[in-house]
């Protein structure tokens, strides 16, 4: 465990598109306090500090000095890439390969579009430089690095006025010597600029992917670094002097200093927080296998968690079209990175997604979204196209008078009319049927997302629990679970800000890797133990710096393997035995065959197996806040009743699907309460919809456990 600096409070801050959420946990009592302020996109640091200030103001007991650490999830890096506001960066590579970034994968992002565009390279051609040098695939020098040519390149870089340089030489993953010499030469002349070497950032083969990762790292580093400095300064100004930690794309946190140096690891910082929150909650409640489902205003994200760990992918593109999870051509519309990212599928289905009828007479939902402005028709802010939120309102699933806790009232008539004229009439359906269709079609896309992270990865959804959160998640989670074949749903306490809570239940994690690329029968076992030893000692150093920790770090080791000749590796956790001997290797190979069979349905016992990368994760464990038990206990849910209202459930055989449905006030529901669907549970920022054939049980901590009555 990371030693406490005597502080009892932890703060998490998650900056989203519309709101900045703050969460404060009192680790002595487990009490959670939240704050919500409007995001400030032009200067995100000011939204950040407002959220913190609001938390500190809540009561006198919260003194800034007693804050143990602050954890932050931010999209500052992604936004810089998407908006084309990265730092001016130079790229240095082996002679003959200057256009590596621009050629990319030589493919088009869409098959039948004659008017397509390629994403512009992050470094323009005039800032791409070549140095004469060459290694072969074994890392041996074919052409020595030409120092005098290098000196000229360094001069030209100096003249260009760049803020950052990325260096990626061919086969540097095997032998970083030339890259390091290039790095030193640049640093000698330009001591103040950011220099990222591909052999440091992601020492793995396939040059374009490594180069792209390295360029993203260096081109966002100046931005991330000044952003984090600004935040640290603002924190100091309010007397919060503890360590600032940043959420990584892979779900662990790392110190701000490490983030400033290697920001490519935090590009998907925001979405990772939700997955981590779900993982932590699931584990705490004895459900290590869960599917996390986070639905907000414009997108929905799904990810799979096994044994309490979110699954991680390295097939990812930043700023591309929606990832279908296939890693196919979707990636050609963005910039690939090879750093670990929580394997989540993000789709354009949120409360604001627009419903429409296409030229073939099919009802469609999204990908366009009304967002917060103009917003759904029912907001009355100028939105004219019906959205998912409008459909939920028409179905009676939302209360027009109790939106945002009653702060805003919704215009049901406007929503009905929009759905009638734009969807129901053209399709010859009733308004209810059309509204139900809109919700079900959006659900289909979301079910696909759930399937992509589960079934497609070889996991049976019946073995999992769905955790639904985000502003719109609880309204859809139960129905999605039914369609995806997931028999259990959990709606956590405070689902609207669950992501920010994820920041506070995250361990400090640092990733290290080493490339082997060697067949199992040729491997020298000592090489594996040497490399793991080296990675471990680097991990210990980082851990010491990171956390000013007295506790021992924990290490996770895995080997990325494939059949010799394949290109996609499967990551196999190493056998438990600490001695790396032939038995260890045999067990590892057997585990690989098993993993391959699970993934692709066949094993090839006689084929040579290749060990590609060793991975070691160094983990500094962070104590989880204790969950607080509800003081209000009792089996009778009626104490929380808000009456009944008609709600449309197509699966109900009642008159035209409309059924009088009890409505409950979540904050008055006692622990131990049990009731059957259909039911609606309201709280200020969320509405949970419980469908018929599902039963709700409020657990000791106030989470809603919802189970299917039969067998799915």
């Amino acid at each position: 465990m990371i030693a406490s600096t005597g502080g009892r409070f932890r703060i998490g801050v998650d900056i989203g598109g519309t709101f900045t959420d703050g969460t404060l946990v009192d680790s002595t009592t487990g009490r959670v306090t939240t704050s919500k302020v409007l995001s400030t996109p032009s200067d995100p640091a000011s939204g950040f500090i407002s959220a913190v200030q609001k938390l500190l103001d809540i009561d006198d007991a919260v003194s800034p000095e007693a804050v143990e650490h602050v954890v932050h999830a931010t999209t500052v890096a992604t936004n810089a890439i998407i908006e084309g506001k990265t730092a001016k960066t130079a790229f240095v590579t082996t002679e003959g390969f200057r256009d590596m970034l621009e050629i990319a994968r030589q493919i088009r992002p869409s098959l039948y579009d004659l008017q397509f565009e390629k994403p512009p390279p992050l470094v323009p051609r005039q800032l791409c430089f070549e140095v004469p040098e060459r290694l072969d695939a074994k890392g041996q020098v074919v052409t020595e690095l030409d120092e005098s040519a290098l000196a000229q390149v360094v001069d030209r870089i100096a003249e260009s006025g760049v803020e950052a340089v990325a260096v990626c030489l061919l086969h540097s993953y095997r032998n970083p010597d030339h890259e390091q010499r290039v790095g030193r030469a640049i640093a000698a002349k330009l001591p103040d600029i950011v220099i990222s070497l591909s052999s440091d950032v992601v020492p793995e083969f396939r040059e374009y992917l490594r180069a792209s990762t390295t360029v993203i790292n260096s081109s966002v580093a100046p931005i991330v670094s000044s952003y984090l400095s600004a935040i640290s300064e603002k924190l100091r100004a309010v007397n919060v002097t503890c360590e600032l930690l940043v959420m990584q794309s892979s779900g662990g946190v790392y110190p701000a200093a490490a983030a400033a140096e290697n920001p490519v690891f935090m590009v998907e910082s925001g979405p990772a927080a939700g997955a981590v929150a779900a993982a932590s909650l699931g584990s705490a409640l004895g459900h290590p296998d869960v599917i996390s489902f986070d639905m907000g205003g414009t997108t929905a994200k799904a990810s799979l968690i096994r044994n309490g760990q979110p699954s991680i992918t390295k097939d990812y593109s930043v700023g591309g079209a929606a990832q279908s999870g296939t890693g196919a051509f979707g990636g050609a519309s963005g910039y690939p990175i090879r750093t670990p990212v929580v394997d989540l599928v993000e789709i354009g289905a949120g409360g604001g997604s627009i419903a429409w009828v296409d030229s073939g007479g099919a009802l469609r939902v999204g990908p366009r979204s009304a967002g917060a402005d103009p917003g759904p028709v029912c907001y009355g802010l100028g939105g004219e196209e019906p959205t998912i939120t409008d459909a939920n309102l028409v179905l009676g699933r939302l209360d027009p008078a109790y939106f945002a806790g009653g702060e805003m009232s919704l215009n049901l008539e406007a929503a009905r009319e929009a759905i009638q004229t734009q969807c129901a009439d053209p399709l010859g359906l009733s308004i209810q049927e059309a509204a139900h269709g809109i919700v079900e079609i959006a659900n289909t896309a979301m079910v696909n997302a759930l399937r992509l992270v589960s079934v497609q990865r070889g996991h049976d959804p019946r073995d999992f629990m769905l955790i639904g959160f985000g502003g719109a998640g609880p309204a859809h989670a139960v129905r999605l679970a039914e369609q995806a074949g997931i028999p259990r749903v959990l709606i956590p306490l405070g689902p609207g800000t669950a992501s920010a809570l994820g920041l506070l239940v995250t361990d400090v994690r640092m990733e290290g890797s080493a490339t082997l690329i060697v067949r199992s029968e040729e491997i020298e076992l000592s090489r594996i133990s040497d490399e793991f030893g080296r990675l471990e000692s680097a991990g210990r150093d980082a851990h010491r710096i990171a956390a000013s920790a007295s506790g021992e770090p924990v290490f996770e080791r895995a080997v990325e393997m494939r059949y010799w000749g394949q290109s996609f590796e499967l990551s196999v956790p190493t056998p438990i035995s600490s001695t790396i001997d032939q038995t260890w290797l045999d067990e590892l190979i057997e585990a690989f065959h098993d993993a391959h069979e699970t993934a692709y349905g066949f094993r090839a016992n006689d084929e040579p197996v290749e060990l590609v990368n060793l991975r070691l994760t160094t983990i500094g464990k962070i104590a989880r806040p204790e969950m607080r038990r509800l003081e209000n206990v009792g089996s009778d849910a009626s104490v929380a009743s808000k009456g009944e209202r008609p709600v449309y459930f197509a699966e109900n055989s009642g008159e035209k699907g409309i059924v009088s449905t009890p409505v409950y006030d979540r904050k008055r529901l006692p622990a131990g309460a049990v009731f059957s669907g259909p039911a609606i549970i309201e709280e200020p920022d969320c509405t949970t919809v419980v469908h018929p054939s599902w039963t709700v049980k409020v657990d000791d901590y106030g989470n809603l456990g919802i189970e299917y009555d039969g067998k799915l």
């Binding site: 050629i103 695939a137 296939t326 073939g360 290109s567 996609f568 349905g601």
Partner: protein, 575 residues
């Protein structure tokens, strides 16, 4: 939905689930495959057909395959006899004269049974890196199809779930790259199995009757939308002619002609006037020509239109037998895709006057194969390698043609240099854009691509490409892109010699082959190009200052990196 009995929600759910099933087939194939061509370059396709052999759903992969698949799969199944196929069986086929394309593209097709009832077929096609024949990677110029490799009529390759070991050994015996090819075959089996499982899961949920009914509806939906799209096309007869630069044996150009008739009966493509087939590798089978027309028509429609039988039924193609657009036995076919993709360029050229904003100027429009192999001294294995190289895209009415991309039905990735060098005895010494290769225009064509291979050991190298006499055409006063160059630089002789676009050469250690592919055609008059856009190209080193002056009438001041306005005005007024 117009039919009252169709639930629009169920419809959308089933439609997406079917597409997803084929996407999952693609993932299984790609991730478990062995050859760089399949696993990295994604030279494969996957689809689902219903029991009546109608195309229902396809993965987002290579349009060339998808368009030919709809011919090949039904013919292969009918030849074998659907009654001869049971649960767990799969047939293998690559017969160009049985609905197929070139021999490298091998299809594996398996019936999907649900509770002993046939519900459809999953099919995947992979471009195998070698299928035997006269040169490594099975590309090269030959006189008859027999020289091009193993011809596989529909045969039962997998019986009741088990790979037929005798057949497997027989097929592999004809093939140089045994280890990789064996791995790719296993990956194809995994792909079809994955598809069958997903299809069964859909039926679990809805039952066979509903499944069938909604497949009809999915096809009818595409049909309706296709008709709506066809209505929008301009009526008329549109024609164009073009040439493949040589046939691989003679220098005589190969004429291609296409006439497109759009009227109240829809769209008809007619290739009458194209040259008679050659005893040379430029012949396209009917399936390939059909695929070219299907791609072109699809590209003119709403990007969101799902492609299935409801679309393909509107692709009407007349291709006279015995021509290079519909060759007959035993013509060689390995370069048929070159003809196919050139037809795409011609179709868009023909339609340019009528649809000036929908089309693009001439593109690379060749597959541009690079195939090589030999004995790997280190491993003792016979290795083969195949890839195709991108080039310039044609300019459009409001935008430049992108640099260095694959064009039309082809969208295969490049092979990473580090992966290639780690697995094969070759060194890539140069991979870069070709400056000054763009077709000048108000909007310029994309730049071509250079790739140089150095061989430390002996190897046999085949170029199967085109565009070595003329670059892609420009439109509306836009100019041609540069032509391609295929150069050989012997270790023993530093002079570079230019090779024909269809050549096989024996290489000695240290020899270099260099590809410099064509740039795309320009669109509109180059002197109308925005001077700042010309400056941007000069600053990036994509075109020279001389070319800016001569071809675009723009004077760039080198020291300030600015447009010299007065000289530019003068240059442009003189034109």
């Amino acid at each position: 939905m117009t039919t009252a009995t169709v639930d629009p929600i169920k419809f959308e759910v089933i439609r997406n689930a079917l597409t997803q099933a084929t996407e999952e087939m693609a993932i299984a194939l790609r991730r478990s495959a062995y050859s760089t061509n399949v696993k990295t370059r994604q030279d494969f396709s996957c689809a689902f057909f219903d029991r009546d052999l109608r195309s229902v759903a396809q993965a987002f992969t290579q349009p060339v395959h998808l368009g030919s698949f709809v011919r090949h799969v039904p013919i292969a199944i009918e030849r074998y006899g659907p009654e001869n196929l049971g649960p767990g069986d799969m047939i293998l086929s690559n017969d160009p004269y049985g609905g197929g394309v070139h021999l490298n593209d091998i299809s594996l097709i398996g019936p999907v049974y649900y509770q002993e009832q046939l519900v459809g077929y999953t099919a995947c096609l992979a471009h195998h890196v070698d299928v035997g024949g006269g040169a490594p990677a099975s590309v090269g110029a030959f006189r008859e199809v027999f020289q091009e490799g193993i011809i596989i009529p529909p045969i039962k390759f997998v019986k009741e779930g088990e790979l037929d070991d005798d057949l497997f050994r027989l097929v592999l015996s004809q093939i140089r790259s045994k280890r990789e090819t064996a791995g790719d075959f296993r990956a194809q089996i995994a792909s079809n199995r994955t598809g069958a499982i997903r299809i069964s899961e859909i039926i679990d949920r809805y039952g066979i009757e509903e499944f069938d009914r909604y497949i009809d509806e999915i096809i009818e939906y595409t049909d309706r939308r296709t008709r709506t799209e066809l209505e929008k096309l301009p009526r008329g007869v549109f024609e164009a002619e073009g040439f493949i630069d040589n046939d691989g044996f003679t220098d005589k150009v190969v004429k291609l002609a296409v006439k497109i008739t759009i009227d109240e009966n829809g769209v008809r493509f007619d290739t009458t006037g194209s040259d008679p087939q050659r005893r040379a590798p430029v012949n396209s089978t009917f399936a390939q020509t059909f695929s070219a027309c299907a791609y072109a028509l699809r590209a003119l429609m709403d990007k969101d239109l799902p492609v299935n039988d409801g679309f393909y039924r509107y692709v009407h193609v007349e291709a006279p037998e015995g021509t290079v657009t519909n060759c007959v036995h035993p013509a060689p076919v390995v370069g048929g895709w070159e003809t196919h993709v050139r037809l795409n360029d011609l179709i868009f050229e023909a339609l340019a006057p009528a649809l000036p904003d929908a089309i693009c100027a001439g593109t690379k429009a060749m597959q541009c194969h690079s195939g090589f192999g030999g004995e790997n001294v280190e491993t003792g294995e016979y290795y083969c390698f195949l890839e195709t190289i991108a080039g310039g895209y044609g300019a459009r009415s409001t935008s430049d043609g992108p640099d260095a991309v694959q064009t039309h039905g082809q969208n295969t990735e490049n092979a990473p240099i580090e992966e290639t060098e780690a697995n094969y005895p070759v060194r890539i010494t140069r991979y870069e854009l070709v400056p000054n290769s763009e077709g000048p225009g108000e909007f310029r064509g994309g730049l071509g691509l250079r790739r140089d291979y150095m061989f430390p050991e002996e190897a046999t190298f085949t170029i199967l490409a085109d565009r070595d006499k003329a670059g892609p055409r420009g439109l509306f006063e836009g100019e041609r892109g540069s032509k391609s160059v295929y150069a050989l630089i012997r270790a023993s002789d530093s002079e570079e010699q230019h090779l024909s676009s269809k050549t096989t050469v024996q290489l000695e250690p240290g020899d270099v082959i260099s590809y410099r592919t064509s740039g795309g055609g320009g669109y509109g008059a180059p002197f109308n190009r925005d001077a700042q856009a010309v400056l941007a190209d000069v600053s990036q080193g994509k075109i020279s200052t001389e070319r800016a002056r001569e071809r675009y009438g723009v004077e760039i001041d080198v020291s300030t990196q600015k447009v010299n306005e007065s000289v530019t005005e003068k240059l442009r007024s003189e034109r």
